[in-house]
């Protein structure tokens, strides 16, 4: 089974970050923290709430930083997994260094010429760029991932999706799974890479925001 993340209890989180119950519940209401991050576990004092530690601490930092010049609703838009409205030309994309030239040309080669990029093609290019950057997959395999994303994009909408690339005896294979779910793989199969689409969307949105 793929390894689980380290968790942090609500009490520890508040202590560590200095945020209050009021703030945490407000962020939950405004969807600044996704509902699936609130993980229920039984402890000796009854039910307690835990969070994925690393992602939650990162998110709290991010919200604290953004809170100065953005409203909570704007931050919610920033961290949500739903697309934002953008329109960028190829040149603008390259100039802003959001994706590499290699990833961009791979996308265009695979999907045909595109005048301007909206969120979805930009996200796919970004994902491919991230995949290639790991150095663990070939460009043909990256194309396979791109095709898989294309085929299932509509079904992925609004879900927390993870891209998994596995290889057995040199044969690569791309999986998409919606989280939370468990996955069991045979021992001889190597997990080459795992990429959370939600995290990538968030990263991409942050980069776009910095560009503006």
């Amino acid at each position: 089974m793929l390894t689980e993340e380290e968790l942090i209890s609500k009490k520890q989180l508040l202590e560590l970050t200095g945020i209050s119950y009021g703030q945490l519940y407000r962020w939950k209401r405004k969807k600044l923290v996704p509902d699936e991050w609130f993980i229920r576990k039984s402890t000796f004092t009854g039910q307690e709430t835990f969070f994925p530690k690393e992602r939650m601490l990162e998110r709290v930092e991010k919200i604290k930083n953004m809170k100065g010049d953005m409203s909570l609703d704007e931050i919610a838009g920033q961290v949500s997994i739903f697309p934002t409205e953008i329109q960028l030309s190829q040149q603008e994309i390259l100039d802003s260094n959001i994706v590499s030239k290699v990833a961009l040309s791979l996308y265009l080669q695979q999907k045909g010429p595109l005048e301007s990029f909206e969120f979805q093609p930009l996200l796919f290019t970004y994902l491919i760029d991230q995949v290639l950057e790991t150095g663990r997959v070939s460009s043909d395999e990256a194309k396979m991932i791109l095709d898989t994303l294309f085929t299932y994009y509509d079904e992925m909408q609004g879900k927390n999706v993870e891209i998994i690339f596995i290889r057995k005896y040199g044969m690569g294979c791309c999986l998409l799974r919606s989280l939370p779910s468990e996955l069991y793989i045979d021992k001889e199969t190597k997990v080459i890479l795992r990429l959370s689409v939600a995290t990538m969307i968030e990263q991409l949105k942050t980069k776009l925001l910095e560009e503006r």
Binding site: E15, S20, Y21, G22, Y25, R26, R29, Q47
Partner: protein, 242 residues
């Protein structure tokens, strides 16, 4: 921009109609609508049934109404009785009478005089309650201000300021409810920055400043700054969080 003005849908007496896009929907008497409704104003007095979702700016029920779908409205006003099978999304919700929502209620301002049952959870900035309520999931609100007039229950409450008090009998509302049942709120968990409780039975209460008043039975209180007490309230275990 050209705006096409849609027609109104009016049912008076007894009648049924199909859903659709309207300017105003007005049902008086007994009416039934089959299908989704998208309109500017939805008003029903008497008794009505809607087999579908309603999307509107103002949703007003006087009398009794059963909506078999979701309701999405800027403003919701109920005097009488409403049953909604689906989710409810609104800015302001005001209920005098009773409401039963089978799914989630999301709003910004909720004011209730009477009773409300929400099978799932409720999220709002302000939750003002006079009467009784039953919430199957989490009540998540910045400000929770409850005056109890009857037995109420909620799984969890989370927010900034949470106040639960026993309702004043002079208010007159208590006459409506049976005096035989103990007026209390039961909850599994209450978490907030400032908490004031009366007549509350809870397993766990966590907050910065917590006041446990008369009629409370709390298994565990965890507080950061201050724990005060009044009346005959009991706390089995208290812990100061450092």
């Amino acid at each position: 921009m050209n705006k096409v003005k849609n027609g109104d849908l009016k049912i008076s007496g007894s009648g049924s109609a199909a859903g659709g896009v309207f300017e105003d929907v007005d049902i008086s008497g007994s009416g039934k609508i089959n299908g989704n409704i998208d309109c500017h104003k939805f008003r029903t007095s008497g008794s009505s049934k809607v087999n579908g979702d309603i999307s509107t700016n103002a949703f007003k029920v006087s009398g009794s109404s059963h909506i078999y779908g979701n309701v999405d409205s800027e403003d919701i006003h109920v005097s009488g009785n409403v049953h909604i099978d689906g989710h409810v999304g609104a800015k302001t919700v005001s209920i005098s009478g009773s409401a039963h929502i089978e799914r989630h209620l999301a709003a910004e301002f909720i004011e209730i005089k009477g009773g409300v049952t929400i099978d799932e959870s409720c999220s709002t900035e302000v939750f003002n309650m006079n009467g009784k309520f039953k919430i199957g999931g989490l009540l998540n609100a910045d400000t929770v201000d409850v005056h109890l007039y009857h037995r109420s229950s909620v799984k969890e409450i989370g927010g900034e300021t949470i106040k639960v008090r026993i309702g004043k009998t002079a208010f007159g509302l208590s006459k409506l409810f049976s005096p035989l049942v103990r007026t209390e709120l039961t909850a599994d968990l209450i978490e907030g920055d400032t908490i004031f409780l009366e007549n509350t039975t809870a397993k766990v209460v966590r907050g910065n400043t917590v006041h446990i008043g008369a009629g409370c039975h709390i298994d565990l209180v965890e507080y950061k700054e201050k724990l005060t007490r009044s009346g005959d309230g009991t706390v089995r275990t208290e812990k100061k969080i450092l």
